[in-house]
């Protein structure tokens, strides 16, 4: 069974890359060399490896939140906005109290990021639970609102004073005090303790969902809202809670980007993690442990494709094309893993059809 899964996934990957190769050829480049970089780049050097994990970290954190909310029956498309709110809140708190000692400030900043992201997420949760506002609508809208709010803050009251002095006006905050910087795990890389935090939280979320009464209820609300209500579970409360937790985790992702990667809040701080994390979470089968390899693979895919573009200088658009094909092929191949019997059914149906024709 395991062997089969591996084989199917491999076939899907090969299929996707084969089609992608056609487009690389179309762009008059060498697909073999391109793929060599794409597939080995993220793993073959310390640079590739650490950068992969730099992408993994926010995907994992945000994805964990998405798992919680999806498991509770709330389709959270709002990761992107929650990340931004978390990032700006943590940067804001860090900048507001630059003189506090690290032991005090650091947890405070983490808390601020999580809390702000959580509250932002909870807006959609409460709207759904209390006023029956569809969460897909509200989270898509809240993403846009968060993006503008974020911009308003980093170009407004939180802007780096130097940018004002020099009149350059780059929308970014000043560097946060280095006492709250997350330690870099490998010198010369951007991989920070944020990654460890994410892994620890994955395990924590696993325990929360699977081994606590709160997790039990969150899952019950998602899997059987009617039964949950009948059993006395406060369904609206847990819906809102799930979105709070989801937002808090996404907010932490934003916080890690500030404290671990950039050391300030700047424009476009989230590289589409809110959406990619949905893919990672679903590929990880909405399991808090399953998402760890899923987000690593996804991080490697993002980075590898970028490295490929640099290596053979093809239009950046090909990166998206190949990523799109890989996602489509892999998700479509799932059926051959989950329901191998279907294959036989199609074959027999087909042969029967063609038999009738002849």
């Amino acid at each position: 069974m395991k062997g089969r899964t591996f084989f199917v996934l491999l076939a899907a990957l090969v299929g996707a890359l084969a089609i992608g190769a056609l487009f690389i050829l179309l762009a008059k480049s060498d697909p073999i060399r391109a793929y060599k970089v794409m597939l080995t780049g993220p793993f073959s050097s310390s640079f590739g490896f650490t950068e992969t994990l730099v992408r993994t970290t926010p995907l994992l954190l945000t994805g964990l939140g998405i798992i919680i909310s999806f498991r509770c029956g709330v389709l959270n498309i709002g990761g992107e906005g929650q990340i931004l709110i978390g990032a700006i809140a943590s940067a804001g708190v860090a900048l507001a109290m630059p003189n506090l000692p690290g032991v005090v400030l650091f947890p405070l900043v983490l808390l601020a990021g999580a809390l702000a992201g959580g509250l932002w997420g909870a807006i959609a949760g409460v709207l759904k639970a209390r006023l029956n506002v569809n969460e897909i609508l509200s989270t898509v809208m809240l993403n846009q609102i968060a993006a503008q709010l974020y911009l308003l803050l980093i170009r407004g009251i939180l802007i780096d004073p130097q940018e004002v002095t020099y009149g350059t006006g780059v929308p970014q905050t000043a560097l946060v005090t280095d006492v709250v910087w997350m330690t870099r795990l490998i010198p010369g890389s951007r991989l920070s303790t944020g990654f460890i935090l994410a892994i620890v939280l994955a395990i924590a979320v696993y325990y929360l969902l699977m081994h606590t009464t709160i997790g039990y209820r969150l899952r019950a609300v998602g899997a059987g809202p009617q039964a949950a209500r009948y059993a006395g579970i406060n369904v609206p409360f847990y819906m809102a809670l799930s979105m709070f937790l989801a937002g808090a985790l996404a907010g932490l992702a934003g916080t890690v980007e500030v404290l671990g990667v950039h050391h300030r809040a700047l424009e476009d701080i989230s590289a589409g993690y809110g959406f990619s994390a949905i893919v990672a979470a679903l590929f990880g089968r909405l399991h808090p442990i399953g998402i760890i390899p899923a987000s690593m693979l996804f991080g490697a895919l993002i980075l590898g494709a970028d490295m490929m573009q640099r290596a053979v200088s093809i239009p950046a658009a090909i990166v998206m094309v190949i990523q799109g094909f890989v996602i489509l092929f892999v998700v479509a191949s799932d059926v051959f893993i989950r329901r191998p019997e279907l294959f036989g059914q199609w074959k027999s149906k087909w042969s029967r059809r063609s038999g009738e024709v002849s």
Binding site: H211, A220, A223, G224, G232, I233
Partner: protein
């Protein structure tokens, strides 16, 4: 497609699902003018066999022959073209469409691509009048009671005028009178040269309607007899492999305080119109109060109102003397109300949850099962294993998804959960619907057991003999009101039938 079905045969049908052999070389045949009954316990493979006939499943082996010719039925479309119609065990209705839209679905329209519901509605009314299965063609399906929905399913099949009609437990949610009408209807149909395959757990119906009976057990054919040559006891033995246990219970008289009192209760239904119009009722500790009535007369809303799932418009509900009218479900559960809901799969349990998880749906946060917010898995596991053993829940292990269990086993799980909690009052809504004889017997025993332990039991059911057999007193619901509450001794079939139709025997007398 072809000529009318004179004879249909299924030969050597094998169907495997992961882990189960649902049909194991089953042969059946049915001829024009004949009613074949398929019998068997829950999970014996009856539905599977019929789904194969209707093209929903493909058999792993075996063949289907119509008038001696082998046919390939690999979609419902093909089955329909062959002249086969089917009433499915689980409703195949679209709640957001009206009755006539549900019936018109997939049918060609006289106006080409344009929908023409006018003639459809007319035919529905006609069919209703002819066969006694009337329902308002303009009503939305979500507004209908389950009994009415079942009628729509039957109308759908009749509308298409199949040569061979398959009915999978069509009477499970019908009232006795409706079931009787259906039997008459089926007999008329076969008299016209059609054939019928019917699946039912109600042996008296099988005796009344069928010409021949095929019994399935564990996917295999366990026997086949002409109905004239057998009797219910023998059929039960063929199905279960043992004699049915005779069952009787002495009705008792109770006085003293009621453990649950309902006073002038008014409640609205989903559409916001009154469903209960001032109900007053009480049940004593140790008493079984039967609630009879055609479904859709407020029973569902009654059960939901007292368990806190539905807002009470006016009136009062008291549990052990404490008012619970506006309490949350959680508070009511904690005060001692147990509830076996009508929709056992989706309200009674969470289908995707494992068995142990569903067994603790209400108690997962209570003392021995949780320490703080942590679940104590060892305790839970031991407790669940005990319940599975005590209540005879058939499952490979505690991790099996509850939705994969048969209806009977799901019901056992719910009973196990509700009864072990030792509530003061247990409300059971249609607890044996769709269960096979063995499973139904078990449920009955458990309800009686619960009443012996001092619980007040409210049993909501349309099965008159079930209500009569178990209850101490019977309340009859009609149109959101209680027609009468009478001791079981006075509740003969005729009286109950009249009350359920909204007539008091006195009225009847004066009228007659």
């Amino acid at each position: 497609m072809s000529a009318r079905i004179q004879k249909l045969e299924m030969r050597g049908i094998v169907k495997r699902f992961p882990g189960v052999l649902s049909n194991d070389h089953v042969n059946i045949e049915v001829s024009a003018g004949e009613v074949l009954a398929l019998l068997g316990e829950n999970g014996a493979g009856k539905t599977t066999l019929m789904n194969i006939l209707y093209g929903l499943y493909q058999a792993d082996a075996g063949e289907i022959l119509i008038n001696g010719e082998p046919v390939q039925i690999d979609s419902p479309r093909m089955a329909i073209d062959c002249g086969i119609g089917m009433v499915h065990q689980h409703f195949m209705l679209v709640p957001t469409l009206t009755v006539s839209e549900n019936v018109a679905l997939g049918l060609p329209s006289e106006k080409g691509a344009l929908l023409d519901l006018e003639p459809v509605s007319r035919r529905i009314v006609e069919i209703g009048a002819t066969y006694g299965v009337s329902v308002n063609p303009d009503a939305y399906v979500w507004q209908l009671s389950v009994g009415e929905q079942q009628r729509v399913e039957i109308i759908k099949a009749l509308y298409r005028g199949a040569d061979l009609l398959v009915m999978d437990e069509p009477t499970a949610v019908l009232t006795p009178q409706e079931a009787q009408d259906l039997i008459v209807l089926l007999r008329t149909m076969v008299a016209q040269g059609r054939s019928v395959i019917i699946i039912s757990h109600k042996l008296h119906e099988v005796m009344a309607v069928s010409d021949r009976v095929v019994v399935l057990r564990d996917g295999k054919k366990a026997g086949e007899v002409a109905t004239g040559d057998t009797n219910p006891e023998e059929l039960a033995r063929m199905m279960v492999g043992r004699d049915a246990r005779p069952f009787s219970r002495e009705a008792r008289q109770f006085d003293g305080d009621c453990v649950l009192c309902v006073e002038e209760l008014c409640v609205n239904n989903n559409m916001g119109t009154p469903a209960l119009r001032g109900i007053s009722l009480g049940v004593h500790p140790g008493e079984i109060l039967g609630i009879a009535g055609v479904s859709g007369n407020g029973q569902k809303e009654f059960a939901e109102a007292i368990s806190g799932l539905r807002t009470v418009e006016s009136g009062k509900v008291l549990l052990s003397g404490q008012e619970i009218t506006h309490c949350t479900p959680k508070q009511i559960i904690d005060k001692g109300l147990g509830f076996i809901p009508e929709d056992r799969l989706h309200v009674g349990t969470i289908p995707s949850f494992q068995i142990w998880e569903n067994l603790l749906l209400k108690d997962h946060a209570e003392k021995p099962f949780a320490r703080g917010v942590l679940l104590s898995e060892k305790t839970i596991r031991a407790h669940s294993e005990k319940l599975v053993a005590d209540y005879g829940i058939k499952t490979p292990d505690l991790e099996t998804q509850t939705g994969k269990l048969s209806g009977g086993n799901i019901q056992r799980l719910i009973l196990a959960r509700e009864i072990t909690r030792q509530p003061k009052v247990l409300v059971a809504a249609y607890p044996t619907r769709g269960l096979d004889i063995g499973a139904a017997e078990y449920v009955h025993e458990m309800l009686v057991q619960a009443s012996r332990e001092g619980m007040g039991v409210i049993l909501i059911s349309e099965e008159l003999d079930e209500v009569q057999k178990l209850s101490d007193r019977i309340a009859v619901f009609f149109d959101g009101r209680i027609m009468q509450v009478l001791p079981v001794a006075q509740a003969d079939e005729k009286t109950l039938g009249l009350l359920m139709a909204g007539l008091t025997p006195d009225n009847q007398a004066t009228a007659g």
